[in-house]
Amino acid sequence: MSDSKLLELQEVDKSFGGLRVIAELDLVVREHEIVSVIGPNGAGKTTLFNLITGIYRPDSGEIRFQDRNIVGLAPHKITELGIARTFQTLRLFLNMTVKENVMAAEYGHTKVGVVRSMLRTPGARREEKEIHRVAEEKLSFFGDRLMGYRWDQPAYSLSYANRRRLEIARAMATQARILLLDEPAAGMNPRETHEITELIGTLRDVGGYTILVIEHDMHVVEGISDRVVALDHGVKIAEGSFEAVATDPRVVEAYLGLRTAETK
């Protein structure tokens, strides 16, 4: 496993009005790692993703991707550099077909412009074929669920689990190097959760992605993580292996509250 730092946050700070949502956060994700971010609701996890992807701008601190400072870049530029994400509340292009959702995300790495598209030049047609091929390739990661007749179905007709899968496929299509998955197993039944756990592993092993995951389901976290980071009120309160973090007293307190008496 490579040791190079793919994504690094240094002393990142973010406040909304008087509320400090992220406080002096340091975070490192190395290439091909799977890092999980956990913490109670409101800990700032999704804000973290928004900061990395450029939707919010940190008040101070640095965010470096492949050793390049990405603070202040437009979100689409950041995605082009290789960071892609999914959303906690799904944000698919509901009225576009399954395949179109994935193809749309390939925009950053394709270049045929409006005029050539209108005229259907040979170059444009070649690129279209390539776009289709890449989309099919990404969708095939999920077995047969998003293949075949499904390609031309509108996204709103998909079941919930399939929608989550589609969002991941769409993120993959941006040719990202790191995937930010925001609660990928939310709302899934045990069998689907198990599949997602295996999928995330496959994404790293077969797809070569580095993955940063926000999750609440500890089974998933346990099953996938190389490293776990725990946040509470925007502060990193623990970091390490799953066992170490899960039993860390500060983490337990953040989730369950202070123990008033020893029960053991």
């Binding site: 944000r91 925009y107 598209s117």
Partner: protein, 498 residues
């Protein structure tokens, strides 16, 4: 792959068969297969829809282009001008606006100003105003480019705006254009000094016809075919773009701009691109219109035309390209048809009858209502004849059997003005109150209500069948259409994240 090994998913098969044979909970395939069945029509409609979907874009255009090409051969020059040319101009405008509104989802209420830009630019380049007489092959690219630049300038501040704010900004731009063009004969420009740029409220007259390398397009028929080619080519180009990288990016931007941005789509740049493309299309159309109207007048490029084009897009359904063509045909022909009372009356009554047929289900109820209406009319007429003769001393507009019948059935005062106004207001109030009534009352009062409608029609709307009436009907139609079918006639119902 995770799908294998012990998770209980049936073996891979192509087609919908990856759903298990019997429904089971906990397996998302079943839910998906039920939800995922495409909306399928049966019978004739289904066959037509499926055939249509299989046609490649150029073929679809032919379906429209071939009958359109035959049209000039079977009609008079006057009709060709009124119906043919204007339909095509409206279609071009609506298709261009569709890029901005239908593809990219930006509400542009100043679009007509770009149309005006094109017309005025051509007028400046090819008329006695400044003495230039450019040939078309040189003028048109310049105009398209020029209007695109204007579109860029308008679009630049709008990049960060969405929805309502963008609408208002563009609306103001449209107004600013009209004001500018109305007064540009009185401004002193910084370097050029005092020039009459646009002829003020008189506009620029005597615009040259198109001159392509010496071939002049002067007759209506020539103009028609030129426009037809233009529209057909534009349709094909649009269909190609829709299915391309840029088209997908526009649609993604329309669906969810934030998600699109994060999926590597440069949203602001694409909005600008949509604006510019739409503006360029409008500029081109404006140049053509300049040659048809042979004059560029400020009044042509105001809100009235904007509403007409939007009506086309609404009727046809946003984003549906062929729907827009149909919408253009409807919107340009119906008002023309309504100009004469001989046409207007059957159209209006026909529409009401149609609405009744659709809404009132049991045949007997419908027959009873219509019978009641006829009876009610005779009763009221008889009472009026006896007690208030001034209510029936006029005549119905037009001649023919219907008009004669109405003379004996409908209240037609000689000087209807005041009472017709009063009736109009009462009608609006009645229409507002009517749906609140119980079923019984609604059934009982439908006949008098219809009589009131016809009274207002005969005495007010038909008599003054000018722009006002048509617009009143258009306004009512828009509200009704939005209530019944918000996606337009040919649009597909969209799912929205609220």
């Amino acid at each position: 792959m995770a799908a294998g090994g012990g998770s209980g998913v049936p073996p891979d098969r192509s087609g919908p068969a990856d759903a298990p044979d019997s429904p089971r909970i906990g397996v998302d395939e079943w839910v998906a297969s039920v939800e995922g069945k495409r909306e399928r029509y049966t019978g004739l409609r289904g066959r037509l829809t499926r055939e249509w979907d299989h046609l490649p874009p150029p073929a679809r255009v032919l379906v429209f282009a071939i009958p359109a090409a035959i049209f000039p051969l079977v009609t008079t020059e006057g009709n060709l001008f009124r119906y043919g040319l204007f339909t095509l101009i409206y279609a071009l405008l609506a298709l261009g606006l569709n890029i901005v509104v239908g593809f990219a989802g930006l509400l542009d209420l100043g679009y007509i100003a770009f149309f005006g830009c094109g017309a005025y630019l051509y007028a400046i380049l090819a008329s006695p105003q400044f003495g230039y007489h450019w040939q078309a092959e040189a003028a048109i690219p310049v105009i398209v480019l020029g209007t695109a630049i204007v579109g860029l300038l308008v679009g630049l501040p709008s990049r960060r705006l969405f929805g309502d704010y963008l609408a208002i900004l563009t609306l103001f731009f449209g107004q600013a254009f009209v004001i500018f063009v109305n007064n540009a004969n009185r401004i002193s420009f910084p370097f050029v000094g005092h020039t009459d740029l646009t002829g003020g409220s008189n506009g620029i007259a005597n615009i040259d016809p198109f001159n392509f390398f010496g071939y002049k397009i002067t007759t209506t028929r020539q103009q028609y075919y030129f426009l037809l080619i233009g529209v057909s080519v534009f349709l094909v180009l649009l269909m190609f773009v829709n299915d391309s990288r840029t088209g997908r990016a526009w649609r993604a931007l329309r669906e969810d701009p934030l998600a699109a941005e994060v999926m590597s789509i440069p949203v602001n740049r694409l909005k600008l691109l949509a604006f510019v493309c739409g503006a360029a299309a409008a500029g081109f159309t404006g140049a053509i219109y300049g040659t048809i109207a042979t004059a560029a007048l400020p009044g042509d490029y105001d809100v009235g035309l904007l509403i007409t084009i939007y009506a086309i897009m609404i009727l046809g359904g946003f984003g549906s390209i062929m729907g827009i063509v149909v919408g253009a045909i409807i919107v340009s022909s119906v008002p023309e048809l309504l100009r004469s009372s001989a046409n207007a009356r059957p159209l209006f009554y026909g529409a009401i009858l149609l609405a009744l047929l659709v809404k009132i289900r049991p045949w007997r109820l419908l027959a009873a209502e219509l019978g009641g209406l006829v009876a009610f009319g005779f009763v009221v007429h008889a009472i009026a004849e006896a007690a208030y003769p001034r209510l029936v001393d006029g005549k119905a507009l037009g001649s023919g059997t219907v008009a004669h019948a109405l003379d004996h059935w409908m209240l037609l005062p000689q000087h209807p003005v005041k009472i017709a106004d009063f009736a109009y207001i009462s009608l609006i109030a009645a229409v507002v109150v009517y749906p609140q009534l119980s079923r019984l009352w609604r059934a009982l009062l439908l006949a008098p209500l219809l009589y009131l409608v016809m009274f207002v029609w005969e005495n007010l709307l038909l008599v003054q069948i000018g722009g006002a009436t048509r617009l009143v009907l258009l306004g009512a139609l828009l509200v009704a259409l939005m209530n019944v079918r918000p996606q337009g006639l040919f649009g597909t119902a969209t799912v929205e994240i609220v």
